[in-house]
């Protein structure tokens, strides 16, 4: 577990980043997160459910998010994920890293 945490690959890191960003706007359930990512990115990003839920549970264990069962407006039980303080910090860090990364990649692409 520790190792997976450390040697986290770029793709997984990206998913974490997106999920945390969505949750920074307020608590949400899994389906909502996936739907938001898809709609905000104009259908460019489609999150695989098979990846989303393991990622959510993993981040829960890392303490970045917490989960609670809530009843929705149409009277159904949904698992709501909320960003924690640690998650917010992590999001801020990752966002800086991501910005630098994309800037760098963009420069190289322009140059070449």
């Amino acid at each position: 577990m520790l190792r997976r945490h450390k040697k986290k690959d770029a793709l997984q890191g990206t998913l974490d980043l997106l999920v945390l960003k969505i949750l920074s706007r307020g608590p949400h359930h899994g389906y909502g997160i996936a739907a938001d990512i898809q709609s905000i990115s104009d259908d460019i990003l489609r999150v695989e459910e098979g990846s989303l839920y393991p990622a959510l549970h993993r981040m829960e264990h890392l303490g970045w998010i917490t989960a609670t069962w809530k009843t929705t407006t149409n009277n159904r039980r949904a698992r709501l994920y909320t960003l924690t303080r640690a998650g917010q910090n992590h999001l801020d860090e990752e966002q800086v890293t991501w910005d630098r990364l994309t800037k760098g990649v963009a420069k190289v692409l322009r140059f070449a």
């Binding site: 577990m1 359930h29 899994g30 389906y31 909502g32 996936a34 739907a35 695989e48 459910e49 098979g50 839920y53 393991p54 549970h57 993993r58 829960e60 264990h61 890392l62 303490g63 159904r76 039980r77 949904a78 698992r79």
Partner: protein
């Protein structure tokens, strides 16, 4: 926190599964609604939503992985898998478990001996960590002395750091059982004894304060549970009844609890009396008031938190004050504390080096066993290379493979540890069995399998798993995939990638076995030297026994008459050349009398008081024992109460006090009484074969009488043949008197070599075991080398090599390993054999015979181990091997 939830998740899958089910259902429902909003039919939408969610099981497993500690699940899986693998190759598993069981069992046994004999030797005694043995020291003589009763009381009065002074002295009495009298061990103790050791009698009471003072004032006794059962048949109203001990009726005031054996390593005591009864157990010699009579062997219980150094400093200071106050008795005398495991006055001190050696030996055996199991695992790892390669190539982590292999190892050693504890249980009383019995005295040298021993054994089990399991596991998991997939067989003899590891293991095994064998060889020679060493008296044709007239109620006058009459009757018997009484027989476990000595013209160093031990002997004692005189005469019946006091000194004493002048006709002062030296006797050994010569002398029994006496008989008959006549002659004088066990002097001497014999037995047994294990290891390596090199061997055959050549090739390879091991073993042995220390008697630690014998044994074992694989090599069928 996450880990709490995860731990819960690890053990209750169902919760997280149904949680996840609900979450998934919600997701799919929402997705379905979305599709419906976009114009799909409901059925279609649900199908699409499901499809899009993907493989539900996979997602769930991955989610659950996040919810659990993988390694706990893995460990369970590894264990199940390992058990399956071990059961699939029962031969391998049995061999490995057998090797480890022997290794771990031997270790657990030695641990239990060390615990039961050295560290916590006294069952039921509380807080033995705070107990220390007390002895006296004498500036003029090395070693330890006992402590006098007045000194003991003064130490007790003046010490502030000691919680309790537990004074005691091993003693014995004669209990008659039918026609034979048997010695029974007991102890004279300070009145605080039972309170201080923390043992409450099962029945009655312990001793009361003051019961240890006043000469013979308190004839009371606490008897052992065993004596209560055996002699009194567990009589519940035993308290208040009497038992004759030391010739006097003692009132039984208590019964010690079951499992309490007293505080003397080696013996189980049967009774305790207060120290005030001392003279009754020393044939009438009163030592209670005598500061010069040193007889107490005791312990101190230090107050909590006091270190041995602090207590030692305080007691030394008190001893120095006593030295100043009582120079005539205490000049040069000090007090010394020892940890229990170094107690010099009981068998702890004697067994310490033996147990040390035993520990080294069993650790070596364990190493050898581990090397064997490591080798076996490597052989199997080779066979499982295919499996490992496949598992690696489909993505198993190397770490997982190592863990899997270590799990197998741990299961092997856990089973072996369980078996080892069984072995240790069997071996608990082995030391007592190796120690010769003394008539009637209950020996007790038990192993103790308490939680400390268990914990240590478990530790050994884990460490050995690491030892034998880690290297194979690392090597196995470190397979070069590309190379492994290329080819599975072929190769050149000895060129296998991991051959060097296995060779190293065999090398280590061989060298360790060699060292053990050298040690065994040295000790065997030493034991032989000890046995053939002359004690300075005849061991052939002399029998010894004892007749305790004191206990039988004789007064001095009657006892003297009895002894004289009995010697006359014995010497009238056919086959008896001569017979003589003495207070002590040489090599007895009892202690000689000691006296301060003064000689005209001899000035001792100012801070020393010369002393010498002596024996009270009857007429003809030296002739009967076969101790020659170098000058003068020995005692005759004329040396009686009315004659001048006479003494016979030995050569050491003559040399020290008279410096080369024949002392016959001169005088010596013994305990203030002047005696005439009438003879000089050749030096002999008096206590054991290994003692260093110290001045010793003899006085006439008649002039220093003891009614409790040993009897020496010079005869060509054996003990069994003479016994009936002996009993008949005694009964002719008094039907109520019985002799103690009759043995030869040779037997008497042999009994003092127990430590050597135990060491030899341990080294020979475990050295032999080590050689067998090492040979099995060598065989394993050679056998698998041959089977892996079948193609090379076949090729050599096809090219014209004969059976002879192949035999030579394989044997040479095997013997090269052995030779390496021998060189290494030789280097180690030359360094370590001197650690055998005092157990080596007249044998050099580098004795060539011991080295040569070990060499031959190892070579022979190696030849046997290599021959079978070599022979199999010559049977290689070239056609078959090359085609396959």
């Amino acid at each position: 926190m996450g880990w709490v939830r995860r731990l819960r998740g690890t053990f209750s899958n169902s919760d997280s599964e149904s949680d996840f089910d609900e979450e998934r259902r919600f997701h799919i429902d929402e997705r379905t609604e979305e599709y419906v909003r976009n114009g799909m039919s409901r059925d279609e939408a649900r199908r699409m939503a499901r499809e899009r969610f993907g493989n539900a099981t996979l997602a769930m497993e991955r989610t659950r992985d996040a919810d659990t500690f993988c390694w706990i699940h893995d460990a369970g899986r590894d264990a199940r898998y390992a058990i399956r693998m071990l059961r699939r190759s029962p031969g391998f598993s049995l061999l490995a478990i057998l090797c480890l069981t022997l290794g771990i069992g031997a270790n657990a046994a030695v641990f239990s001996w060390i615990e039961g004999i050295l560290l916590r030797p006294y069952p039921l005694v509380v807080e033995q960590d705070r107990l220390f043995a007390v002895t006296g020291t004498d500036k003029g003589a090395p070693g330890h002395t006992d402590v006098s009763w007045p000194d003991w009381l003064d130490l007790q009065r003046n010490s502030t750091l000691v919680e309790a002074f537990i004074g005691e002295k091993i003693t014995g009495t004669t209990l008659s059982i039918g026609d034979r009298a048997e010695r029974t061990n007991g102890s004279m103790v300070s009145a605080n004894y039972f309170d201080a050791v923390g043992v409450r009698p099962t029945l009655g009471r312990g001793f009361e304060p003051g019961e240890d003072s006043g000469r013979n004032a308190h004839p009371v006794t606490v008897i052992s549970y065993q004596m209560w059962q055996d002699r009194f048949h567990g009589d519940p109203s035993i308290i208040g009844k009497t038992q004759v001990l030391g010739g006097l009726r003692h009132t039984i005031v208590g019964v010690a609890p079951k499992g309490f054996y007293g505080t003397f390593v080696g013996y189980a005591f049967q009774f305790w009396v207060p120290a005030s009864m001392q003279s009754q157990f020393d044939a009438g010699v009163d030592k209670l008031e005598d500061r010069g009579a040193r007889w107490i062997e005791g312990y101190v219980r230090l107050k909590p938190g006091v270190t041995i150094d602090q207590a030692q400093a305080e007691l030394s200071a008190i001893a120095a004050r006593l030295e100043a106050d009582h120079p005539d008795t205490n000049r040069g005398r000090g007090i010394r504390l020892f940890p229990l495991w170094q107690t010099p006055f009981n068998n702890a001190g004697a067994l310490l080096p033996t147990l040390g050696i035993a520990l080294v030996v069993v650790l070596s055996v364990l190493l050898i066993a581990c090397a064997n199991v490591g080798n076996l695992l490597l052989v199997r790892a080779f066979a499982r290379q295919q499996e490992m390669t496949i598992r690696l190539s489909v993505g198993a982590g190397r770490g997982r493979l190592v863990k899997q292999l270590m799990t197998e190892g741990l299961i092997l050693s856990t089973i072996a540890a369980a078996g080892g504890l069984v072995v240790a249980t069997w071996l608990r009383d082995a030391l007592a069995l190796l120690t010769p019995p003394r008539g009637g005295v209950l020996l007790r040298l038990p192993g103790e399998l308490d939680w400390r021993v268990m914990t240590l054994s478990a530790g050994v089990c884990v460490v050995s798993t690491l030892l034998f399991g880690l290297v194979p596991a690392l090597i196995t998991s470190n397979i070069d995939l590309a190379a492994a997939l290329r080819s599975q067989s072929g190769g050149v003899v000895g060129a296998r990638s991991r051959a060097w590891v296995r060779s190293t293991l065999v090398l280590v095994q061989m060298s360790l076995s060699f060292v053990l064998l050298v040690g065994a060889g040295l000790l065997i020679q030493s034991l032989q030297a000890v046995r053939s060493a002359s004690p300075g008296f005849s061991t052939q044709g002399v029998l010894t026994t004892g007749i305790d007239l004191f206990t039988a109620g004789y007064d001095v006058r009657r006892a003297k008459t009895f002894q004289d009459d009995f010697i006359d009757r014995l010497q009238a018997l056919g086959g008896v050349e001569s017979a003589a009484f003495s207070r002590m027989t040489p090599f007895s476990y009892r202690t000689y009398s000691t006296a301060s000595i003064a000689v005209d013209g001899y000035d001792a160093p100012p801070d020393q008081q010369p002393t010498a031990d002596y024996n009270e002997v009857g007429p003809g004692f030296l002739a009967t024992m076969g101790i020659p005189l170098t000058s003068g005469r020995e005692f005759t019946r004329a040396d009686n109460e009315t004659a001048p006091l006479a003494a016979v000194v030995d050569e050491t004493m003559a040399a020290q006090f008279w410096r080369g002048v024949d002392p016959v006709g001169r005088r010596v002062q013994v305990k203030g009484r002047w005696m005439q030296v009438v003879g000089v006797a050749r030096n002999a050994r008096y206590r054991n074969l290994l003692e260093t010569p110290r001045p010793f002398f003899y006085v006439a029994l008649r002039q220093n009488f003891s009614a409790t006496a040993a009897l020496q008989i010079r005869t060509k008959q054996g003990p069994a043949a003479l016994a009936p006549a002996l009993v008949r002659e005694i009964h002719a004088l008094d039907a109520n008197v019985a002799p103690s066990e009759i043995i030869t002097m040779r037997e008497q001497v042999e009994r003092t070599t127990a430590a050597q014999r135990i060491s030899v037995t341990i080294l020979v047994v475990f050295g032999g075991l080590a050689v067998v294990l090492a040979a099995v290891g060598l065989y394993g390596v050679m056998a698998s080398t041959v089977s892996q090199s079948s193609r090379e061997l076949a090729l050599r055959m096809a090219l014209g090599a004969g059976a002879q050549d192949l035999l030579r090739l394989v044997l040479a390879k095997g013997l090269a390993l052995t030779a390496g091991g021998l060189v290494l073993g030789m280097a180690v042995a030359l360094q370590v054999t001197r650690l055998l220390g005092y157990l080596l008697y007249q044998v050099s630690p580098r004795d060539p015979i011991a080295f040569a014998s070990a060499f031959v044994v190892i070579i022979a074992a190696s030849l046997v181990a290599c021959f079978v694989p070599a022979w199999r090599a010559t049977r290689t069928d070239p056609l078959h091997a090359l085609r396959g």
